[in-house]
Symmetry: C2
Subunit: 246 residues, 2 copies
């Protein structure tokens, strides 16, 4: 937790918050903060700044806050993600929020295990938990939007083309440099990290028919080299590449 | 498991292996392989190729193997890593092996919790397990070397300078663009991924005195931007950047 994220309901007056629970424990036990100590804070979807410890009780702490810094710029990358198994979903949501992704679409693919759609890790509060942890790690305050799409074909045919119009849409797809005519060299990538949509398929891979539909919708396949990266590492790897040019 | 990694002891004759245990279960239960099916295999520290299922028993399977492909090129990056907590260590070892790192030095830092040095995750077999999983994920066969250094200062002063001579050594260090005179713009990075050493400190950060010793040994600090990345994502992010130029 490199930043303590504040909710509207934490404010007991415009410049003072009272925290209990997880954030209280962190400030007390990990940061071992004392009265007068200054902590980095930020308001969800608002500004960041400093919080000075002004009162400590057995189960809560009060901070006097001054919020006058803008959060870091959003990463202008939309992530479209095949629903992974719960531990992986948690880590990808965390890392996407950490990296500054502000729009995440969780999508069905042929090789997504159907039972995963009933997972409790898809509940709004479970999703929000990981996003908050990612923002706290990165020092950011702007909550990403997460959209769930359980039907692949209608989304790809009816919604994706408008979403990616005039932008680049990349499908991470190992082996796509082998004669499919749609090689996108990473060195020739759009020189801006802006306006990119990255599509990361399921662990078992994206089937040919899905690749055809994605291409028909305007996507290009992207081969990340001979090594097959586990899905949770594709996003940081690609973001590292894209940001090179910024 | 995108490749089944074979040990010397698996070979019952020069072109035939018998597998049991974890790899047998994977082939049987996940891949649901039948006689005649061809699987991707590779010999540890050797060639990769195809394995054809030729016999299936209740607790073992035999493959006829043909090994005639070189593994992918090594990533010429040495990782020096502050010992993290066990779950993070596992994931970083996995990801380093997956990304093609062949030399990993696990080092003490001031903010490494001392008790971690007794962790069972540092046992050779625990380390090897994660490296094998990373190679199987990536489709690679060359085992990384892992070296453990429990003393920071002697390593930095006596061994590091020779290790990085004529190469670039980068210390991931958030906030290092604030007036320390050693900014290394990522855009001005060495155009080759070769000959890089990346130093990733502990979660709590690298203390000033350690930064001074690292600089004196020839390292440059590297600021990855306003977001603080969790240590396990620094490596894929930086590798994504470095490889851009290759």
């Amino acid at each position: 937790m490199n930043l303590i994220l504040l909710h509207d309901s934490d404010f007991i007056n415009p410049s003072r918050v009272r925290l209990s629970g997880r954030r209280f424990s962190h400030i007390q036990d990990i940061l071992k903060a004392e009265c007068g100590q200054i902590l980095t804070v930020g308001k969800i979807n608002g500004f960041m700044g400093q919080g000075t410890v002004v009162s400590q009780k057995a189960d809560s702490i009060e901070l006097e806050v001054k919020l006058d810094n803008k959060p870091p710029q959003a990463l202008a990358l939309t992530l479209i993600l095949a629903l992974p198994r719960p531990p992986m979903l948690k880590r990808i949501l965390f890392s996407a929020a950490m990296l500054g992704v502000k729009k995440i679409i969780i999508l069905n693919f042929n090789r997504v295990e159907k039972g995963l759609w009933n997972s409790s890790s898809l509940r709004p509060e479970a999703i929000e938990e990981q996003l908050v942890l990612g923002l706290e790690q990165a020092k950011d305050t702007i909550m990403p939007e997460v959209i769930i799409k359980k039907k692949f074909k209608p989304f790809i045919q009816d919604e994706l083309p408008a979403l990616i119009k005039g932008k680049q849409a990349l499908v991470a797809h190992p082996g796509s440099n082998k004669g499919d005519g749609h090689i996108l060299s990473l060195n020739k990538m759009c020189p801006s990290p802006l306006l990119t949509t990255l599509i990361v398929g399921p662990e078992g891979g994206i089937i040919d028919h899905e690749i055809e539909l994605l291409k028909a919708a305007g996507c290009q396949t992207l081969d990340l080299g001979p090594r097959i990266l586990r899905t949770e590492y594709v996003l940081p790897y690609v973001v590292g590449r894209l940001l090179e040019f910024s």
